[in-house]
């Protein structure tokens, strides 16, 4: 599906993707950059919030600084008829931030993906073991992150 955004929406996106300025009036400052009124920007954002394009506005907090220093991606090999049930069950763990079904293949037979967080590695291991017991799936792999290579917000509009 190609992007069906209006010119105004594209201009908003080009400024929005750079993150909010840390000022007392971030919307006013972004609106000025886009070249529109503050009220117009707020209208676009409210419309996006209502139709689901905008998930959330807020701070991205460092896991480490708030005491959640450890995290792992855990991939699960689940029989296709149990994906719905197991996915819902794993998503119910408060330590899980993301839970997705993704396609399995011969090279990589895992179809459920979860991001699990905890204060330290031992706590993450404990949670993962509890998740495995709860859903009765023992074919899983825990992938430790050795290094973050890149972390950047999405570039929707290039060259701005």
């Amino acid at each position: 599906m190609k992007s069906s955004l209006s010119d105004l929406e594209k201009r908003v996106l080009a400024v929005l993707q750079k993150g909010f300025p840390i000022t007392l009036t971030p919307y006013q400052d972004m609106a000025r950059k886009i070249g529109i009124e503050t009220a117009e920007l707020l209208d676009v954002l409210k419309r996006w919030r209502d139709d689901g394009k905008l998930r959330r506005i807020g701070a991205v907090v460092s896991h480490v600084k708030v005491g959640l220093g450890a995290g792992a991606m855990v991939v699960w090999q689940v029989e296709s008829e149990r994906v719905e049930e197991v996915g819902t069950m794993l998503a119910g763990f408060p330590q899980v931030s993301h839970a997705y079904e993704r396609p399995a293949s011969d090279a990589w037979p895992y179809n459920l993906y979860t991001m699990v967080h905890g204060a330290d590695a031992a706590e993450v291991d404990e949670t993962v073991a509890a998740m495995s017991r709860a859903c009765g799936v023992d074919k899983y792999r825990q992938l430790q992150t050795l290094k973050e290579l890149k972390k950047a917000p999405p570039t929707y509009i290039k060259g701005v």
Binding site: K2, S3, L5, L13, K18, G19, F20, I22, L24, T25, Y27, Q28, T38, L42, L45, W48, R49, D51, G52, K53, L54, R55, R56, I57, G58, A59, V60, V61, S62, K65, V66, G67, L68, M73, G87, V96, S97, H98, Y100, E101, R102, P103, A107, W108, Y113, H117, R141, Q144, T145, L146, E148, L149, K150, K151, A152, P153, P154, T155, Y156, K158
Partner: protein, 152 residues
Amino acid sequence: MDHLDKQILSALQNDFPLSERPYEVIAAKVGADVDEVFRRVQLLVGEGAIRRLGASLDSRKLGYSSTLAAVRVQESQIDVASQVISDYPEVTHSYLRDNEFNIWFTLIATDTGAIAGILEAIRLKLGLGPDDVLNLPVQKLFKLDARFKAAD
């Protein structure tokens, strides 16, 4: 980080107000003075507790496509591979992980064809076989909630 810092962090994470003067709304919510709240936000940004303030968008609903991908590269190739992959502006996150598929990354592009094209270009640049690249788009979303409570 004291109690007020945690209250501010929580308010900032959960629902940054869509209002001309958002910090006044937050100040009223946490029962503090707006200047004090904003000063603390600046400090939290400065010390890295807040990585970014911004909008989290649904790339699919905006008309874009995204995926999670992984490549299986030789130990000696990791530095070159991570550079090749990170150079694409479409790559938002990339990680080195302790697995035979050792570099994992997320991609956002205009459509699935563009994603396939980038993955194929990466594969060729790194001299990998077809089985050394995984393209794992979301088929079903069960949960997406990257908000964290500040530990007490």
